[in-house]
Structures are given as structure tokens and as C-alpha cells.
């Protein structure tokens, strides 16, 4: 099982969107997006499914567990989720929720 490598938060720490970011479904783009001052990132497919669960209450563990339950046929998703969250954190989209 892949461990969070460069993620600066624990596997059981709730993760939130960074300040000033908003996540929503965007009909015109037919995908989820992140909105921030003067910009937008498209999060199609699995990226949107992961980010949908980054809401300040769920941890990495919880997100992985939910996704495995939502997509029962999928292989172990943990490594993919960690990879995506690393990218998201590197881009400043997410942060650890203050507890």
C-alpha cells in the first residue's frame, strides 16, 4: 500500500479546499471545476470524484474508503488518490483542515 509521501498531512487528518477556492459541477464544461480568483481548473473524471470528497471533514483514509465503496470493481485506489492529492497540494488547491 502506497504511503503518503510528500503529503504534509496525516492519513487520518481532514483535508479541505484551500482558502478562496470553490469546487462545483460545471454544465458547460461537462465536468467538475475548481474556481479561484480569475481562474478555473477542470477536474474531469476521477479528479472530480476525489475532489468532491475534499470538504474539510474527510481524511485521506476516508476518501479512499468512500471511493472504493462507490466503485466496487476498481482495484486499490489509494496510490492514485495520493498521487492526485499531491498534485492538488502542490498547486495550492487543498490544505489540512484546522482541527
Amino acid at each position: 500500500m502506497a504511503q503518503p509521501k510528500r503529503l504534509p498531512f496525516d492519513h487520518d487528518a481532514p483535508i479541505a479546499l484551500a482558502k478562496y477556492y470553490r469546487f462545483q459541477w460545471e454544465p458547460a464544461q461537462d465536468c467538475h471545476v475548481l474556481l479561484y480568483p480569475e481562474g478555473m481548473v477542470k477536474l474531469p473524471g476521477s479528479a472530480g470524484e476525489i475532489m468532491k470528497r475534499v470538504d474539510g471533514s474527510r481524511s485521506l483514509d476516508a476518501i479512499v474508503a468512500e471511493l472504493q465503496a462507490a466503485f466496487p470493481g476498481a482495484p486499490d485506489l489509494r496510490a492514485d488518490v495520493v498521487d492526485f492529492l499531491e498534485v492538488a497540494h502542490g498547486n495550492g488547491w487543498i490544505r489540512e483542515q484546522a482541527r
Binding site: K19, Y20, Q24, E26, A28, P37, E38, G39, M40
Partner: protein, 386 residues
């Protein structure tokens, strides 16, 4: 972001700029509002604006800017902000902060306004006042505190020109004192009022170089505590900006009186009729109106743009600048060194390099109703050629 749609199939707009009023308590000499704003019709009412917001959202716009004039001059801005959030926009208020009371910012927060960009209350008069006057600083400080209290990022925009660019150090220190997280040092772009005042406002190359040095030293000192963006004036560049990321590609402006434009300045272009939201749905205006299709794609281009490999990157630069400087909007933007008209830009820069302004330079013109009426009277009638 997206690339420009082709002439046949434009993409949807992502940015809607709502210039909700031309009224403004300031008189900035570099204002990009049309110099003849006093001759345009009445402002759209609240219901019309709410409809514009809905139609923009249905088209797929996600970013919304409330601008002007000074958007706080509209007492229905709270209602627009609330509707914008309900519709799912990421909304930005672009303001001088004049008129931003605690009651209003609390209502904006409650309504779901996402972002505020505080622009410097600058005209040459006000700039001097600002740099020397405690009173003005205190006003700005209180506004900055309100912005922070209501948990907005502190984003400051300062327009630079010949008369204030030598104060870049003081401006940056002032921004730091105000707790700014982001500062945009935007060199004046020479349109509208700024174009009227161009010879007064264009900095010399030395001034520009010193300001960039000051900015770089400041960045090294403060690190990530404050992000400073230095926007170089395009007159000092050798290739044109990708204006609006392409005509009718991502960006749509609705002006105070309801005219819809592909950029803030396009109203000046002759031979084009830009429709009004009072008469047409925004969808038709974006996809089908002749004005929005005029400079999509590259079929309109002349040489050297037509055969230039960079045309997919810079779209030939700015149509309005091409028109203002050469009289023909289909020419290459003369900022480009490949343009046969490039000398028009380099000559202006050379004039700016002289230590003193030459005799006979027009006195500076402040943006106010009186000057706007005078400039309206002096220009051609606004009758569009169809």
C-alpha cells in the same frame, strides 16, 4: 485556460465583465472607460443586470467581474452579488474602495462575493495626495482592514505611469503596511483616457528599468509574504500581447448602458455595430452577432500577421491598438517589431526618454464629465456604419 475557438465554432465565454456604471468618484487620467462615456444611454436597471447574469451563466461564464466606473456607485450591487453566487459564478469586485462601508461588505460576504480587488485611488492628483497625506492613507487602511476582517484576500492593483513609477518603492512599502497579499503593478495601457494622456504618462526606459529593479529587490526581501506582479507596458515590448486571448474567445464585457463588447475598448472601432442586451439575447450576441465574429479566427488578418507562425499565440495583438495607431483595425498591432508601423510605438517611447516633456505636449486630461462632453463633441458622431 482554453484556446480561441475557430471562426466557425467559437467556444463559450468564461469571463463576464459587468461594467455596471460609468459613474465614478475618481478622475483617473489612465481610465480605460470610453472618453465619450457621457453620451451613452441610461444604465441598465437591476432586472436587466440580473437577466444578463443569468444569460452569461447559461452560456458557461464562470468568472464574473463587477467593475465600472466605480461599481459601488450602484446601490443594487448587493442584489447582483447575491444572484451571481446563486447562479454559480466566481465573483470579483473591482473597486477603488470608495463607498465600501462595513454594512456593504457584510452584505457582499453574506451574498457570496468571492473576491475583492482594491485598486489604488489614483489620478495624478490623488496619487500625490496619497503619498503625502495621512488622511488618505488612513482611509485606505480602514478599507484594507474591512477586507481582511471579512476574510477576503487583500489584493491591490496599482497603475503605474511616468508620474508615479519613480515611487515604486514607496508604493510597495505602502502595500506591505496595508497587509496586501498580492500586488499588481500594472503599467498603464494606452487606451481611452490614457491614450489622450499618452505623452504625459508614458515612462522612459530608465524609469521602467529602475522600477523593475526596485520590484525585484523588494521581492527578494519579502519572499512569499507578498506576491508582486509587474506588468510591463506593451509599448516597451517587441511582440504584441495576446489581447483578450483572442477576439470573442473567452471574454465578454457588458457596458453600463447594455452594449456588449469583446473587450473593454472595442466600442471605438469603426464599422462595427455592437448589440445591446436590451435588444438581443447574450447567446446570439456571443455566437452570431457580426461584431463578435469580426476578428475571430485569422481570415481578417493582413501581412505580416497572415503568414506569421506566432499568429496562433498572439492573434496579431490588439485590434483597438492597431486602429488607434494606424487607422486600420486589421493591421498588425504596431507594438510588434514586425509591423511596418512599429516606428509609431518606438517614436513615442523615444519621446518619453527625453528628460523633459517637449513643449507643446497636451496638458493632462482628467476623466470627468466635463472633459468627456468636450471629447464627445470633438469626435465623430457615434453612428455605427452597418
Amino acid at each position: 485556460m482554453e484556446t480561441a475557438g475557430s471562426a466557425n465554432k467559437p467556444g463559450n465565454p468564461l469571463w463576464l465583465l459587468a461594467e455596471v456604471t460609468y459613474k465614478c468618484p475618481l478622475h483617473c487620467v489612465f481610465c480605460y472607460n470610453p472618453v465619450d462615456y457621457t453620451r451613452y444611454g441610461p444604465e441598465l436597471d437591476t432586472q436587466a443586470w440580473l437577466r444578463v447574469l443569468r444569460e452569461g451563466r447559461e452560456l458557461g461564464a464562470t468568472q464574473l467581474g463587477f467593475s465600472g466606473g466605480e461599481p459601488l456607485m450602484r446601490d443594487d450591487l448587493e442584489e447582483m452579488v447575491t444572484e451571481a453566487r446563486r447562479l454559480g459564478y466566481y465573483s470579483n469586485l473591482i473597486t477603488s474602495g470608495i463607498g465600501l462601508t462595513e454594512k456593504r461588505i457584510a452584505a457582499f460576504k453574506e451574498g457570496g462575493l468571492d473576491h475583492i480587488q482594491l485598486s489604488f485611488q489614483d489620478s495624478t492628483r490623488e496619487m500625490n495626495d496619497f503619498l503625502s497625506s495621512t488622511k488618505t492613507f488612513d482611509l485606505k487602511k480602514r478599507t484594507a482592514e474591512l477586507i481582511q476582517k471579512y476574510d477576503y484576500p487583500m489584493v491591490l492593483n496599482v497603475v503605474l505611469h511616468r508620474h508615479n513609477i519613480d515611487h515604486t518603492q514607496q508604493i510597495l512599502e505602502m502595500a506591505q503596511q496595508l497587509g496586501a497579499e498580492y500586488v499588481e503593478l500594472a503599467n498603464t495601457q494606452y487606451y481611452a483616457w490614457a491614450f489622450e494622456n499618452r505623452d504625459q504618462l508614458l515612462p522612459s526606459r530608465d524609469q521602467l528599468m529602475r522600477a523593475e529593479e526596485v520590484t525585484n529587490r523588494f521581492r527578494e526581501r519579502v519572499g512569499n509574504a507578498m506576491k508582486v506582479y509587474f506588468v510591463v507596458p506593451d509599448y516597451h515590448a517587441t511582440r504584441p500581447k495576446a489581447c483578450m486571448n483572442g477576439w470573442g474567445s473567452l471574454f465578454v464585457t457588458v457596458t453600463a448602458d447594455g452594449v456588449v463588447l469583446p473587450c473593454h475598448e472595442a466600442r471605438m472601432l469603426p464599422g462595427l455595430t455592437f448589440p445591446n442586451v436590451r435588444d438581443h439575447p447574450l447567446r446570439w450576441i456571443w455566437y452570431d452577432s457580426p461584431g463578435f465574429n469580426a476578428y475571430r479566427g485569422d481570415g481578417w488578418m493582413q501581412e505580416p500577421c497572415r503568414s506569421c507562425p506566432d499568429k496562433v499565440k498572439d492573434f496579431g495583438g490588439c485590434r483597438c491598438q492597431a486602429f488607434m495607431l494606424t487607422g486600420d483595425a486589421t493591421n498588425a498591432d504596431p507594438v510588434c517589431e514586425l509591423s511596418p508601423h512599429h516606428h509609431l510605438v518606438t517614436e513615442a517611447v523615444e519621446r518619453a526618454d527625453r528628460p523633459a516633456l517637449p513643449a507643446g505636449v497636451k496638458p493632462i486630461v482628467f476623466r470627468d464629465d466635463r472633459n468627456s462632453r468636450a471629447l464627445s463633441a470633438a469626435s465623430e458622431p457615434a453612428t455605427p456604419v452597418t
